[in-house]
């Protein structure tokens, strides 16, 4: 009687259970993409509301937390594009590193330590491409679709990010 196409949509209670088990992972992924705790919170909230509105599209082939995680990644990208359009530069250009106010830099260092420092070296594009490929294990073509571009510029941004991070992480290790 129950097939994927006739599966009941997830309930409010199941969403709350998903929050209990997935909140840390969603927030971590959104933080890595946005590079900002406040934007990451907004992204997770947008993702939850979008997921609820689209709950009838949930096929049940993956866990609810995993489905919401994918939506959260896209929400994080949308939040960055909306809130920092000036830093969303064409991928084929060498972008400047993200600029932060002194207060943001202090907060990042206090709260997020090495991660905040390392990610702050990347432009928004480089950070998004690196996180989606290296940590979230998206296919390059899927990243390109999410960023509304082609695979070539995604590769270039990824190579730039890797170069900066490998140097940065090596130097961080040296500081310890």
């Amino acid at each position: 009687m129950t097939s994927a196409s006739h599966r009941s949509p997830p309930t409010q209670q199941q969403f709350h259970q998903a929050i209990s088990s997935g909140a840390d992972v969603w927030f971590g992924a959104c933080f890595r993409i946005t590079g900002d705790a406040s934007l990451a919170q907004d992204a997770v909230q947008d993702a939850l509301l979008n997921a609820w509105r689209k709950r009838r599209q949930f096929q049940g082939t993956a866990r609810l937390e995993t489905w919401i995680h994918r939506i959260a990644i896209n929400s994080a990208i949308a939040v960055v594009r909306k809130h920092r359009p000036e830093r969303w530069q064409p991928l084929d250009e060498e972008p400047e590193a993200a600029t932060r106010s002194p207060l943001e830099a202090v907060i990042d260092e206090q709260m997020y330590g090495d991660l905040g420092q390392a990610l702050s070296q990347l432009s928004d594009m480089e950070r998004v491409c690196f996180v989606m490929k290296h940590l979230e294990e998206f296919r390059l073509k899927d990243i390109a679709v999410a960023l509304d571009t082609s695979v070539g510029p995604v590769k270039q941004a990824l190579f730039r990010a890797l170069g900066k991070l490998r140097n940065r992480m090596t130097s961080l290790k040296g500081e310890v």
Binding site: Q12, Q13, F15, H16, I19, S20, A23, D24, W26, F27, G28, A29, F31, R32, A37, Q41, V44, Q45, L48, L49, W52, R53, M111, Y112, G113, D114, L115, A118, L119, K133, H134, L135, R139, L140, V151, K155, F159, L162, L165, R166, M169
Partner: protein, 250 residues
């Protein structure tokens, strides 16, 4: 693209064409220097793990839960308002359709009594207050009425989300609407001699009315809603199951 980039994409297993991947694999076998560089890239990228990301704080989680609940309540209210806007015309039309359907089906059954043998899976009716226990399959309820009722029960299940509303007025309107529609179907069922089905529909009323208790806590409401959801689900399963067990012999 330089060798470093090719080796990086090779490590990711993504972004190279089949021929590029084959060529690189052949070169790695033939060229020790390239193989050594690939080993270094593998080690470097494999070790490139960023420090752990920050965890969501309790305040963040509370904010997300609240936003979700508010969205759910708001969408239920929007749905209720939509119904209310069309209620006079919509309910009059529904009443007319259900009653006409009942009369029509009753006449059809009367005409066909001698020519059709309708055999149902038989289950003994039980005296119970549990609505879900009242559908027993021993009545010859017309298929058309069963299908309409199944649709109504499915819609009711969706509307149950509105019972989470903190606003007693919204809950009252929703419960009144569901009870009114139940009664219309009960009239149609009784017109077809399906007393048991009519009793089932009326049996939902006390459970629905219990959600309007002024001292009901959020937890009480959730329990009532889950109870209704469960019983509606069981009833639906039994109705649809009974329809599929019906054998009509010509």
């Amino acid at each position: 693209m330089n060798d470093e980039q090719l080796l990086t994409l090779y490590w990711y297993g993504d972004g190279l064409s089949d021929s590029e991947r084959r060529d690189l694999a052949n070169r790695l076998e033939r060229e020790p220097d390239l193989a050594a560089r690939f080993a270094a890239v593998k080690e470097d990228l494999g070790a490139l793990d960023l420090p752990a990301a920050p965890l969501a704080t309790a305040a963040m989680v509370a904010r997300w839960r609240l936003a979700l609940d508010q969205e759910i309540n708001a969408s239920a209210t929007r749905s209720t308002n939509r119904w209310r806007r069309f209620m006079p015309a919509g309910l009059s039309a529904a009443a007319a359709v259900v009653l006409a359907l009942g009369v029509f089906i009753g006449m059809q059954l009367e005409d066909r009594d001698d020519s059709l043998d309708t055999v149902h899976a038989t289950v003994s009716p039980e005296e119970t207050d549990d609505p879900a226990q009242l559908v027993t399959g021993s009545e010859a309820v017309p298929d058309t009425l069963e299908r309409s009722l199944a649709l109504h029960l499915q819609n009711t299940k969706v509307q149950l989300a509105g019972l989470a509303s903190d606003n007693i007025d919204d809950r009252t309107r929703l419960v009144a609407q569901i009870i009114y529609q139940n009664r219309l179907f009960a009239v149609a069922a009784r017109a077809n001699g399906a007393e048991e089905l009519a009793r089932l529909l009326r049996a939902f009323e006390p459970v629905l009315l219990a959600t309007l208790a002024e001292d009901a806590s959020t937890n009480d409401l959730a329990v009532r809603r889950d109870q209704l959801d469960f019983e509606l689900g069981v009833t639906l399963t039994k109705i649809t199951g009974r329809a599929s067990n019906t054998i009509t012999a010509l």
